[in-house]
């Protein structure tokens, strides 16, 4: 494991944690609030949207990290995965 990989793992793991805790906080807040305010459910669904966005975010983080390391082969691979995920997103909206 090179030192670069260690740094890359730190960036990626931060992205994952940030997404996980933000989504969890929004969902829990929303679940509690929905008993006192009608818009509480909206906060919970915002949390689910954050959750849905985290996989795309982790690909972008990995892609950025590969570019930073000048590992263009894997930057291209990540970009390809991102393209398929975004295609699914746009097909999903239209479905």
């Amino acid at each position: 494991m090179s030192r670069q990989d260690v740094a890359a793992d730190r960036v990626l793991s931060f992205t994952l944690k940030f997404g996980a805790y933000t989504a969890l906080a929004l969902i829990v807040t929303g679940l509690v609030l929905q008993f006192v305010a009608p818009w509480g459910a909206k906060v919970a669904s915002a949390g689910l949207l954050v959750l849905l966005a985290t996989p795309a975010l982790r690909i972008i983080a990995a892609c950025g990290q590969f570019l930073h390391e000048r590992d263009f082969k894997y930057a291209l691979v990540s970009f390809g995965v991102l393209a398929i995920v975004l295609l699914a997103y746009f097909l999903g909206i239209q479905a």
Binding site: S13, L16, L31, I59, I84, V85, L91
Partner: protein, 262 residues
């Protein structure tokens, strides 16, 4: 929704996430049958909600495994090229498959998973944990990519992560150490599930009122499970999960034979 149902969903999610992270299986094999059998959700909706739980498990556990350098991000990213294509195609097709067929496929998958977990329990009963991961270079990418495509397809169709397909292939054919294979599969299932979740969400098959409490439980359960996984012996948890999975399989088959899942 009553408070009791809400709490029940949170607890279900917590158990699925916790046991999933400890036994190294996605929560999907627990959540989908629970929703379809006991909460009476149509299969497509049960699967749509489960996909969100799979993303939650993957995000929570990967945060830890990536930090501990167990996850092979390059390998995962490469195989995701195939899982996402499989997941996208399957999610688009799933819409036109009827509920009973989906339930039959799911019951088969439950039986396969119990079998594969039994094998894992048998081989791991006396094995010592791999403390450090030996150096390796993944081999045989064509086989890995083909298996990933199929795993992605099952994920889009049934809402499960596809770990029981990918992990053995990575271990046996690609010569990746078991712990690295499991962590890498965990990393991948989030991206795979998201691909099909977008399609299910767009078609209105993600019930937000059910998904929100479940996902909250799954997050808490898998964060805790991943954290204590190195201190707990997986053997007994595996036996428990095999029992639960087997029970769900029997229940689903019974419900199918008595004309359920219409």
């Amino acid at each position: 929704m009553t408070l009791a149902v809400l709490l029940l969903l949170i607890v279900t999610g917590f158990c699925a996430g916790g046991f999933g992270a400890l036994a190294g299986v996605g929560g999907g094999i627990i959540v989908t049958p629970m929703l379809a059998i006991y909460f009476g959700l149509p299969m497509h909706q049960a699967i749509g909600v489960t996909l969100l739980c799979v993303i939650a498990t993957s995000t929570a556990t990967s945060a830890l495994y990536v930090e501990r350098h167990v996850t092979d991000v390059r390998l995962g990213m490469t195989l995701e090229l195939a899982t996402t294509v499989g997941a996208l195609i399957a999610a688009l097709v799933a819409h036109s498959i009827n509920r009973r067929t989906l339930a039959v496929l799911f019951a088969c998958f439950l039986l396969y998973s119990s079998g594969s977990m039994m094998k894992k329990a048998w081989t791991s009963r006396n094995a010592k944990r791999e403390e450090t991961i030996p150096d390796y270079t993944p081999q045989n990418y064509p086989v890995g990519l083909a298996a990933s495509f199929i795993a992605g397809g099952f994920s889009g169709l049934l809402g499960i992560g596809g770990g029981p397909i990918k992990v053995p292939v990575m271990f046996l054919f690609m010569k990746v150490p078991l712990r690295a294979a499991a962590a890498t599969s965990n990393f991948m299932i989030g991206v795979t599930a998201a691909t099909s979740a977008y399609v299910y969400w767009g078609r209105g098959n993600v019930r937000i009122d059910i998904a929100a409490p479940l996902v909250a439980g799954v997050f808490a359960g898998s964060l805790l499970g991943a954290r204590i996984s190195s201190k707990v012996r997986a053997f007994y948890i595996l036996i428990l999960v095999i029992g639960v999975t087997g029970w769900f399989a029997v229940q689903m088959i019974y419900k199918l034979l008595t004309g359920g899942f219409q």
